[in-house]
């Protein structure tokens, strides 16, 4: 295989910001077929193939080594696979797409301000209510990893693919793990982030796959593009 593949978010604000950031660094990403095309290029760099993917698929493809480098959120790397962080190298954060993955509980839980309070509540939840404490989230891997770190094992995850903040009011779950930028959605839903409840600080990053196979030639191509972007990695 010759040439290298760059994965770029296929739509929305993230696509715009990514292309703006590359342009600001002197590399113009083209998308000849418009928004419905999934192949593109970088002007003047014929060795780079650009592929447009949804951000979560970019994380998956980087971890599997199907694309060589790409732009996606740190949260998605951690969520896609337990071994995600080891499978990639962060070449550089891009300074946009900032958001935190947080643990939030109902405001009314005045006794729960930190994770160790949650550990206590979880530990006898089952004996009080005949079921486990339920956590709504789309961040299943991140939740499991961090709750294990805090020594909390007594809970069940309810997978939530949208409007997670509504889960406590709708009775689907007791608390949530969700991504937030300003916290206003949480506040509007009478939810409060625990004092030590930030599980992950995420932002869009330029990320290189460690599982992709780089020949000397492809590695040189990668390093050359990265250096033009002010980034470098050791793989």
């Amino acid at each position: 295989m010759t040439g290298i593949t760059l994965a770029v978010p296929s739509k929305g604000r993230l696509e715009e910001l990514t292309r703006e950031w590359f342009a600001a660094n002197g590399l113009v990403i083209t998308r000849p077929g418009g928004a419905r095309s999934y192949l593109g290029a970088i002007e003047g760099l014929p060795e780079v193939t650009v592929r447009f993917f949804p951000a979560s698929e970019i994380a998956r493809e980087l971890i599997r080594g199907n694309v060589d480098f790409g732009v996606t959120g740190r949260d998605l790397i951690h969520e896609t696979s337990e071994t995600g962080p080891q499978s990639v190298a962060i070449a550089r954060p891009l300074g946009f797409g900032n958001a935190d993955v947080v643990v939030a509980v109902p405001d009314a839980w005045i006794d729960v301000t930190r994770m160790h309070d949650l550990a206590d509540v979880a530990s006898d939840f089952r004996s009080r209510h005949g079921r486990w404490l339920r956590i709504a989230t789309k961040y299943i891997t991140i939740t499991r990893q961090h709750f294990a770190r805090f020594g909390i094992a007594e809970y069940r995850i309810v997978e939530s693919l949208g409007a997670t903040e509504a889960a406590p009011a709708s009775g689907v779950a007791d608390i949530i793990v969700d991504i937030t930028t300003t916290g206003s959605t949480l506040t509007a839903n009478a939810l409060r982030v625990l004092e030590d409840g930030v599980l992950l600080q995420s932002e869009a990053c330029l990320i290189v796959s460690r599982t992709a196979k780089f020949s000397a030639r492809r590695r040189a191509q990668l390093d050359s593009v990265l250096s033009r972007l002010g980034a470098e990695v050791s793989l």
Binding site: D107, H129, R144, I157
Partner: protein, 354 residues
């Protein structure tokens, strides 16, 4: 002649020789009971599949749960013994994997000591077939619970400490938190009735059900308890005792002697659980046996004595112990004596080839 097939045949014979019913639970099992029993922590190790109805199933990740569930469904009370040998499936770092496991489950046996001895004997016989003379690590769940029950501290802290037993980092964090002295004057607390009213208003405003999950009363009580606990210190001597106890780890006789000395100096009655451990030592013979005071599986249905056996590689080859609270957790009406173990056949084979 010693090849893998020969060892396997021997192991089959050992499993059959336990005077037990050979259990062969289905390979495909409902996943919910596993999540219910062991939570998400274990759940992430399951190989899941979804029925067209949306119900989740998993490939058998262990034998104990289906064996014990089936025993309860058929009416508890009669002593029963089960043995097993077959594949289990778990997710690992490097992908899903199929392992062979063998083991025994002894339920409602009249004498828990005798039952545990049989478990030890089974595990050691299995390891012996693979030429392993194991390091045996013992843990005392019953011993720790006895110590905790007698240690001087405000009662609500006991369950919080017990809950973290077996998770050294979480326990250490809690002990550290308890060691920080709060010089703040006890603040005047709002009355429970006022708190309940406030919390109820907040919950109603947020659209939360007052009955489905945590109730306003529960939140208010825990809030008041937490405030009270901030003022109710665990005495420094108790923290020192816990630290000293949890740090005890080493050859079993030496460790038990140290615990006895600790108990004597602190006037704790730990004779019964210590004797319980001593009773099993003769049966363990020449093996290298250590006692690790902080060792316990992270599952609250374990009781009494727990153990792990390792070989040269350090991998756990056999593990088990007593879990008298398991049957209750799975629906039995009262605690029922239970003990057992499982051995990892693939790891034993790897150990043999070394």
């Amino acid at each position: 002649m010693t090849n893998a097939a020969f060892r396997r045949t021997n192991l089959e014979a050992l499993v059959e020789a336990q005077g037990a019913t050979r259990a062969t639970p289905p390979l495909l099992l409902p996943a919910d009971p596993y999540f219910d029993l062991a939570g998400e922590e274990f759940g992430r190790r399951l190989l899941l599949t979804t029925a067209t109805t949306g119900a989740e199933y998993c490939l058998r990740p262990d034998f104990t749960l289906p064996i014990v569930t089936d025993y309860i469904a058929n009416g508890v009370g009669q002593p029963a013994a089960f043995s097993y040998l077959g594949p289990i499936f778990r997710q690992r770092e490097d992908g899903p994997a199929e392992f062979d496991q063998a083991g025994i489950e002894l339920l409602a046996q009249p004498d828990g000591d005798v039952a545990l001895d049989q478990v030890f004997t089974f595990a050691r016989a299995a390891l012996d077939m693979f030429g392993v003379s194991p390091n045996i690590r013992l843990g005392g769940v019953g011993l720790f619970e006895a110590l905790l029950a007698q240690a001087d501290m405000p009662a609500p802290w006991r369950s919080r400490i017990r809950h973290r037993f077996g998770h050294p980092e979480a326990l250490e964090r809690l002990l550290k938190r308890l060691a920080v002295s709060h010089d703040t004057k006890p603040q005047k607390q709002p009355s429970r009735a006022d708190l309940v009213t406030d919390i109820t208003e907040q919950m109603v405003a947020a659209g939360l059900s007052l009955a489905e999950g945590r109730t306003p009363e529960e939140i208010a009580d825990r809030y008041l308890e937490k405030q009270a606990l901030n003022d109710a210190h665990v005495p420094a001597e108790t923290l020192a005792l816990l630290h000293e106890y949890l740090a005890i780890s080493g050859p079993v006789l030496q460790s038990l002697t140290r615990i006895e000395a600790l108990a004597a100096s602190r006037r704790l009655m730990l004779g019964a659980p210590i004797r319980a451990i001593r009773r099993h030592l003769n049966g363990l013979g020449e093996a290298r046996v250590t006692f690790d005071a902080s060792f316990s599986p992270r599952l609250d249905y374990y009781t009494g004595i727990v153990f792990e056996m390792t070989g040269r590689t350090g991998d756990v080859l056999a593990s088990g112990g007593q879990y008298d609270r398991l049957l209750e957790r799975l629906g039995a009406q009262a605690p029922i004596a239970a003990s057992g173990c499982s051995v990892w056949i693939d790891r034993l084979e790897a150990e043999f080839r070394q």
